[in-house]
């Protein structure tokens, strides 16, 4: 069962453009994480958000956790080719014994 839906599924943009990726669910999560995965590699953790409404910034990336802790967004400013990859959100259950991964957003930034 896929509990987290990401949109868009695919995104191809020009270098320098801004973009937003969404992660939505009808379930409440104790925390939500964003990962980036490059071809042939495992996902790498970018950020964890815990509090409803929380906003975290990581250089040109801004992550927001919804007030109800059911959804999240990732905004990238002035995208660079190095941002290319598969972005995955993952919600943690209250017990922390499962991570429910989103469907993924494949981002391509064209130089």
């Amino acid at each position: 069962t896929q509990l987290l839906e990401q949109s868009p599924q695919f995104l191809s943009i020009q270098e320098g453009e801004n973009l937003t990726v969404y992660c939505n669910s009808s379930s409440v999560f104790s925390s939500l994480q964003w990962y980036r995965q490059e071809p042939g590699e495992g996902p790498v953790l970018l950020v964890t958000v815990v509090t409803g409404g929380e906003v975290k910034k990581l250089k040109r990336l801004t992550f927001q956790f919804g007030d109800a802790r059911k959804d999240s967004s990732l905004h990238i400013t002035a995208a660079q080719p190095g941002d290319t990859g598969l972005y995955l959100c993952a919600g943690a259950s209250d017990t922390g014994n499962q991570f429910y991964f989103g469907t993924g957003t494949s981002l391509t930034v064209i130089p």
Binding site: V44, N97, Q98, F99, F101, T103, G104
Partner: protein, 114 residues
């Protein structure tokens, strides 16, 4: 090593054969997860180990799949009588546990069943 290590990195096997995939988690991490990922897709949960507790096997797709974790460290995922639909990347992750849910992933094992 400092990170999660998986072996082999690639495995090609004939349909019907058994395979074993290995995961060495980060030292001291009590939680270990196995996921399966089809090309360019999200991750499908398979199984979760936490310390000495009984594993959560709710994600295993069939009784051909099993996993063990020996001594609270190394884990082995076994697929018996492999089928072509088993072809995927199998990812292992570990996390500190005890309320810390941040997962660190290995590079995965790419399994191809021919």
């Amino acid at each position: 090593g400092a990170g999660v290590s998986q072996s082999p990195s690639n495995k090609v096997t004939e349909k019907g054969k058994d395979v074993e995939l290995r995961c060495d988690p980060i030292s001291g991490h009590t939680a270990l997860y196995w996921y399966r990922q089809s090309l360019g897709q999200g991750l499908e949960f398979l199984i979760y180990f936490q310390g000495n507790s009984a594993p959560d096997k709710s994600g295993l797709p069939s009784d051909r799949f099993s996993a063990e974790r020996t001594g609270g460290s190394v884990s082995t995922l076994t697929i018996q009588r492999t089928q072509q639909e088993d072809s995927a990347v199998y990812l292992c992750a570990s996390s500190p546990g005890q309320g810390n849910t941040e997962a660190f992933f290995g590079q995965g094992t790419r399994l191809t069943v021919v």
